[in-house]
C-alpha cells in the first residue's frame, strides 16, 4: 500500500483501506500440542497449580474468583509472569492440549435456555477477547452498530470475512437482534451486502482511515456524539467490530468454543490468511509458514497495532493480523523538538490541539494536558505520529499519559 507523501500535498492524507484479494493463499493450521493463553494479572492474584485440567467452555475459578472461560482442552504445564503493553502484568499459561473433546455444557445449555445476555457475559471472560457491549441499566441496548470497516488500514481481514463467513455473520446478527431496539450494519463503499435479515438496517459510505474509527462511525450512523473518554455502553449503544460478530456466529453455529480463527499474515508485503485454533502460539504459525529471518512482529496493523516481543504470545480472539518484517520500521533517531508545523492538528479527527498538548506531555504534565488540551478526546488513531514532521512519537506519549492518568485515578479511589 502506498502511503508515502506525494509531491503535491494540498489535501489531507487519508489512508484508503486495502481490499481482500481472492488469490490469497489460505492455510489451515492443525491444533498444536502446546497451546497458550494469556490473562491480565500476576501469580499472586491467580495462584495456578501445574497439572490442572481444564475443558473447553469451563469457567476456570481460582480461589473463588473467575479467572477465565477456557476456549481449549488441556493440562496446565507451566505458568510464566511477564509485563505487557504499558507495563501491565500478564500471565502466560501453557497447556498441553488434551486429545479428548468434551461437550461445551455451558455454551449449549445457555443457548438452549435462550439466555442471550448471560451468554455474552460469560463470553467476555474468554482471555484476550474484545468485550461485547452489554446493556448496563435495562435489558435492551438502544442500538447496536456493527462495523465491517477495517480497524487498521493495512489489513484486509474484514473483506475476507464478508466473502467467506456470511453464514456466521447472519447467525451472529440474528442473535444480537433480540438484544436491541435498532441494529445497524456499516459497510465501506465497496463491499455493501444485503443479508436479508428483517429489521437490520444497513449503512454504506466511503470511510477512509481515520474516519472509520468507532466514535466517528457512530456519529455518522446514529448522529450521536459520545462524550470524550466515555464508553458506548454508558449511553446504551453497542458497538461491535465484524470479527466479534463472526466469532459469536461461529460459537452459536458450533455450540462450542472450539472455533478456527482466521488471521491475516503479512510477511514483508506477501499476504497469507491462516485459520488457527484459538490459543495457538505465534511461533507455531510462523514455523508452519516457514518464516525464517525476521526482527519485528506486529499484531493488529501497522498504524495502531502493537509490536510483539514474545513469540509465545498466543492467537486470541482480538488478534486479527500479524505483520512480520525483516527490517527495522517506525521511528528513527531523527526526532527533533516540535516545530509547530500544524500537520497533526490538521489531521486529528478529534480536533485536539496536538501541538500544544505534546509540550505538556513531554514535560509529564498529564493533568494539564487533560484539562487544557482535551487529551481524553483522543480516538487513538495514530495519525498524529504518522504525519509528524519532527518525527515525535506523539501517539506513544498520548497512550502513556492516558495510562498514567488512569493510575492516578485509581490511587485517588
Amino acid at each position: 500500500m502506498d502511503y508515502k507523501a506525494t509531491f503535491v500535498r494540498i489535501t489531507k492524507p487519508t489512508l484508503k483501506t486495502l481490499q481482500y484479494d481472492e488469490s490469497v493463499e489460505i492455510v489451515q493450521i492443525e491444533p498444536p500440542d502446546l497451546v497458550c493463553l494469556t490473562i491480565e494479572g500476576t501469580k499472586a492474584t491467580y495462584p495456578f497449580k501445574e497439572g490442572m485440567k481444564i475443558n473447553t467452555g469451563e469457567l476456570v475459578q481460582i480461589n473463588g474468583k473467575d479467572a477465565f472461560l477456557s476456549p481449549i482442552n488441556g493440562i496446565l504445564r507451566s505458568v510464566r509472569e511477564t509485563k505487557g503493553y504499558l507495563n501491565k502484568p500478564y500471565l502466560y499459561l501453557f497447556f498441553e492440549r488434551a486429545k479428548a473433546v468434551k461437550d461445551d455444557f455451558t455454551i449449549s445449555s445457555l443457548l438452549k435456555a435462550g439466555k442471550k445476555l448471560d451468554l455474552l457475559k460469560i463470553l467476555n471472560k474468554i482471555p484476550g477477547i474484545k468485550p461485547y457491549s452489554l446493556p448496563q441499566k435495562s435489558e435492551y441496548l438502544d442500538s447496536i452498530v456493527i462495523s465491517t470497516l477495517e480497524q487498521d488500514p493495512f489489513t484486509a481481514i474484514n473483506d475476507f470475512y464478508l466473502k467467506k463467513y456470511l453464514d456466521e455473520l447472519t447467525e451472529g446478527v440474528k442473535f444480537l437482534k433480540d438484544l436491541t431496539k435498532r441494529i445497524v450494519i456499516v459497510f465501506g463503499e465497496r463491499n455493501s451486502l444485503n443479508l436479508g435479515i428483517p429489521g437490520l438496517e444497513s449503512y454504506s459510505k466511503k470511510f477512509d482511515y481515520p474516519y472509520s474509527l468507532p466514535n466517528l462511525v457512530v456519529k455518522d450512523v446514529l448522529g450521536k456524539v459520545i462524550p470524550m473518554g466515555k464508553p458506548f455502553e454508558r449511553y446504551n449503544i453497542g458497538f461491535l467490530h465484524l470479527n466479534q460478530v463472526i466469532l459469536l456466529g461461529q460459537i452459536i453455529k458450533n455450540a462450542s468454543l472450539q472455533v478456527l480463527k482466521p488471521v491475516y499474515v503479512n510477511l514483508d508485503d506477501k499476504v497469507k490468511i491462516v485459520t488457527v485454533p484459538i490459543g495457538t502460539r505465534i511461533i507455531d504459525v510462523m514455523t508452519k509458514l516457514s518464516i525464517g529471518q525476521y526482527n519485528m512482529v506486529i499484531a493488529n496493523g501497522l498504524l495502531n497495532g502493537q509490536s510483539i516481543y514474545d513469540l509465545d504470545t498466543p492467537i486470541l480472539p482480538s488478534l486479527d493480523s500479524i505483520f512480520v518484517k525483516y527490517h527495522l520500521l517506525g521511528m528513527t533517531n531523527l526526532e527533533t523538538e516540535c516545530i509547530n508545523c500544524g500537520e497533526c492538528v490538521r489531521i486529528c479527527p478529534a480536533k485536539i490541539p496536538v501541538n500544544i498538548m505534546i509540550r505538556y506531555l513531554k514535560n509529564k504534565k498529564y493533568e494539564d494536558a487533560m484539562l487544557l488540551c482535551d487529551l481524553m478526546a483522543c480516538l487513538e488513531c495514530g495519525m498524529c505520529s504518522f504525519v509528524c514532521v519532527s518525527r515525535i512519537p506523539v501517539f506513544h506519549y498520548i497512550m502513556l499519559a492516558k495510562y498514567e492518568l488512569s493510575l492516578m485515578e485509581n490511587e485517588e479511589v
Binding site: 502511503y3 508515502k4 519485528m296 498504524l303 517506525g330 509547530n340 508545523c341 509528524c388
Partner: protein, 319 residues
C-alpha cells in the same frame, strides 16, 4: 520456555508519512534561491560574498553553540542554513563582513539556540536579529551605499524611502512591471518579487508553508493600503506599490509563515496574518520607520500563542 531470539519492539505507528524537518527546510532554502541568484546578478560579487558568509556563519554558529552545550549539531537539517540565507536576503550587498557575523550570531544563537534550538524560538530569529542590527547600525545598513560601485538603469532610490519622504508622487518614477521583475533597490534577496512569488507558490503547493497566512497577509496589506490611498492619494502610495516594494513578498512567503512562530488553526492564521499586514502599513504610512514589516511581524509573533487558543471544539467535549 525462554527463547533466545530478540525481537525489536516499538510503539505504533510502525510507518511514517515520509516527511521530515530536513526535507522541509532544504526545500524552503531552494525556494529562496531564484530571488537570491537574481540579487547576486544585480548587485554583483559583493552580494555573493554576503550570502555565502551569512549562510556559512549561521551553520558555524550552530555547530559551535551545540558543541558548547555538548549536544549533537543538526546542521544537516538545513534550518540554520535557511536562517543565514534569509538574513542575507534582507541586508544590502554592501553589508560589511563583521555585521554579517554579528547578525547571524544574534539570529542563530541569541534568537534560537539559547531557547533550546529548533522549534523553541519565541519570535522569528531572522527578524529578531535584523531588528537589532537595523537599530544599532542604521548608517551601515544603507541600501543606496552600493551605488558607488555600479550603475543602474532604474530610479536609484529605495522605493519605500522615496514614497515616505517625497510623497505618493514618487510612485510615478517606478513601473509596476519593473518592480515585479526586481528593478529596484533593496536587500539582496528581497527585490526580485516574481522569484519570491514563484518560490512561495511552490512551497504552498507542497505545504512547506502555511499558505493561508501568506494569502491573508497580502490581502490585508492591500486593503489597508487601499484605505490610506483613498483617504489621501497624494500622501500615501497605492496598494500595488506596497505589495511590490520593501520586504512584503519575502515576509509573506518566508518570514511570516515561519513554523514555530505562527498559529496552526485556521481562524488564528488569518487573524495573525491580518495583524501583521495592518501593522505593516500603519508603520509604513504613519510610523517613524520606512519599512514596517520587521516590527509588524515581531509584534504578531508575540501575539501568536494567545491567538492560537481560538480553536475548534474537541470531539465529544461538552456534549
Amino acid at each position: 520456555m525462554q527463547r533466545s531470539e530478540l525481537l525489536l519492539a516499538s510503539h505504533a505507528p510502525f510507518i511514517h508519512y515520509g516527511t521530515s524537518v530536513k526535507e522541509r527546510y532544504w526545500n524552503i532554502f531552494f525556494a529562496c534561491l531564484p530571488a537570491v541568484i537574481y540579487g547576486i546578478v544585480l548587485f554583483g560579487a559583493s552580494a555573493l560574498g554576503v550570502v555565502c558568509l551569512s549562510t556559512g556563519s549561521a551553520m558555524g554558529w550552530e555547530v559551535l553553540f551545540k558543541k558548547l552545550r555538548r549536544q549533537e549539531p543538526r546542521i544537516y537539517d538545513g534550518s540554520s542554513a535557511l536562517l543565514g540565507l534569509l538574513f542575507a536576503m534582507m541586508v544590502p550587498a554592501t553589508t560589511p563582513w563583521w555585521l554579517v557575523l554579528v547578525g547571524t550570531f544574534l539570529c542563530v544563537v541569541v534568537g534560537r539556540e539559547i531557547y533550546g534550538g529548533l522549534g523553541c524560538n519565541p519570535v522569528n530569529p531572522v527578524l529578531f536579529s535584523f531588528a537589532i542590527v537595523f537599530m544599532s547600525w542604521k548608517n551601515v545598513l544603507d541600501f543606496t551605499g552600493a551605488l558607488g560601485n555600479f550603475e543602474v538603469s532604474f530610479f536609484p532610490v529605495e522605493p519605500l524611502n522615496a514614497v515616505k519622504f517625497i510623497g505618493a508622487s514618487a510612485e510615478s518614477k517606478y513601473e509596476i512591471l519593473e518592480l515585479l521583475l526586481g528593478k529596484q533597490l533593496g536587500g539582496i534577496g528581497s527585490v526580485f518579487n516574481l522569484g519570491l512569488i514563484l518560490g512561495g507558490i511552490y512551497l504552498a503547493i507542497r505545504r512547506f508553508i502555511k499558505w493561508e497566512i501568506s494569502l491573508m497577509f497580502l490581502i490585508s496589506i492591500f486593503v489597508t493600503a487601499l484605505i490610506f490611498h483613498i483617504v489621501n492619494p497624494t500622501k500615501y502610495a497605492s496598494p500595488i506599490f506596497h505589495l511590490l516594494t520593501g520586504y512584503t513578498m519575502l515576509a509573506a512567503f518566508f518570514l511570516l509563515p515561519e513554523d514555530t512562530t505562527s498559529p496552526v488553526n485556521f481562524f488564528p492564521k488569518l487573524l495573525y496574518a491580518s495583524i501583521a499586514g495592518v501593522m505593516t502599513i500603519l508603520i509604513r504610512n504613519i510610523g517613524a520607520y520606512v519599512e514596517g514589516v520587521v516590527f509588524a511581524i515581531l509584534l504578531s509573533n508575540v501575539f501568536h500563542p494567545l491567538i492560537d487558543k481560538i480553536r475548534p471544539k474537541s470531539f465529544g467535549k461538552g456534549v
